[in-house]
Each structure stands twice: as structure tokens, then as C-alpha cells.
Symmetry: C2
Amino acid sequence: MGRSAEILQSHGLKKTGIRIKVIEMLDKMPYAVSQPELESHLSDEADRVTIYRTLNTLEEKGIVHKVIDREGLSRFAMCSSGCSEHKHHDEHLHFQCTRCSNIYCLSIPVEAQFNLPQGFEIHQMRIYVDGICKTCN
Amino acid sequence: MGRSAEILQSHGLKKTGIRIKVIEMLDKMPYAVSQPELESHLSDEADRVTIYRTLNTLEEKGIVHKVIDREGLSRFAMCSSGCSEHKHHDEHLHFQCTRCSNIYCLSIPVEAQFNLPQGFEIHQMRIYVDGICKTCN
DNA sequence: TTAAGTGCAAAATCTTTGCAAATGT
DNA sequence: ACATTTGCAAAGATTTTGCACTTAA
């Protein structure tokens, strides 16, 4: 059984053709993929609505995570280990290239320091970096 | 002449009623305001389309800046000094409350350290913090 | 006076929902 | 067999565009 099928099975999801193809694509891509990108790769095999539903399901189960880009559009990437159904461990750094717009989820250690004003309580931090990616550079 | 009118004049924009009202509202609010919020405050005085166009114009001129929230929706806040027509100095910290969803643009010093992989070049960093704001706490 | 701004209608995107048909287990 | 998933159509939500009318300078 392939890695995609294993992932689905271990999360209690049916191993359908579309889910496997979506996971395989996200697994292969070094950056977060938008729904339109997925759609154009799967256009003859899957309906747009099914792709939306697949992505939502995979996100709910902690298999992929959604990254909102600079423009407010959703992009999806495989979760690193540490995500589960109800908690996304999503403290890595998101790098969006200003040239190709691709978002790379970089698993690098980040240290950040700041003092929130009185009364503010932090739960989670998300860091976005804009710049030029290794492919465009 | 009021502060809003002065801002418009100094950026070479006509001082229209709607623009003044939008700036006054953003100026008053301690957090970033969404288009729907503005719309409900101005519904009898301005068309939805005009609000969109006003916000875009003000953003282009460096008067307000747009913050994309967790859900990918746009919210707008007055720019701190340091923004100009072509460059938004937007390195402050964005705090979004998980309870009321309001986004506070906090002008506090932030120190962040990380090493990007070879070939990645940073231009700008954006930090988003999720948690509980001072009003909900 | 006249270039810019506004309102209305309509379109373009992106995303979700309802329901019947198809599919995985 | 049966609950889940899929496809299609339709609706929602957000944002943009076209064009005639209005307004600030």
C-alpha cells in the first residue's frame, strides 16, 4: 500500500482515488499548493467541489494544513508530523516568494521576542516572510 | 480643517465625504476594521462598491494598510508613520483575538532570529499572533 | 469646467450547500 | 448493504468592472 493510502487509512478515511491523488501531489510539491493548481492538475479526474471537500477533510484530520497567502488565498501543504485532528502544530515559518508567489513551509527553528501589552495573551504565533525563493533567485 | 481632510489633502486626494468618514472611523478604532464593518456603519451614506474603492485608494496612497486575517479576509487600519505610496512599512505585529476576531496592529519592538535555507532571500517579515485580546480577557 | 469620485447593475472569483448517483469497506 | 464520497447544479460570499451621473477643486 502506498504512502498516501496509508495516511488515509491511519486517519480513518476511505481510500478514494481523488484523495490519494491530492495527497500524492501535495507530498511531491516542495511548496504549498492552491486549489486552482490542484484543480488544473486533476481537472479531468475530479470536480472542483470534490477538491474543496477533499482539502477540508484532509485539513480537519490533520493531514494537510492551510496557509493563507499575502492575497488572502488558501494554499495547502502536507502537515509535518505533530499535527492531529484537533491541533495543528503550525509554528513553522511560511516563506512566500514575491516573484513566483509560491509558499514554502520551512521547518527551521525560529526564536522571536516581544512583549505584548498588558492584557494580551498569546496562544500561537505565525511568521510569514516575503522575499525571493531559491528557485527564483 | 480636520485631521482626516488634512491626510487626504497631503496625499493629493479629493476631500470627499466618504473618504473622510472612512478615515475617521479607522482612526477611531483601536483595531483593524473589515469592509463589512465599515459598510454597516456607512450603509446609508455610501455604496458598498465605493467603500471598496475608497479602501483601495487609501491603501495605494499609503494611508491605510490591509491586514489579511486568519480566515483570509481583509481588514484595514491606519498606517503608522513611515508608509508612503510605494512602500508600506508594515513590520509591526498583528494580533488577532481568537474570541472576538479583532486584529490589533501592535507597534512593539520585535526581535526574530532564524536562518533561511541557502538561496532564500528575505525582504520583509510579518508576524501574526493569535490569542486573547485585552478586551476579551 | 473638468478630471475624479460615486452609485447602480452586472460580472468575476472563490467557496459552500443540497441532493441523487456512485463507490469503498 | 450501508454509510461515505462524488458530481452536478445552484446558491453565497467577497471583490471587481462598466458606465452614466455627480461633485470637488
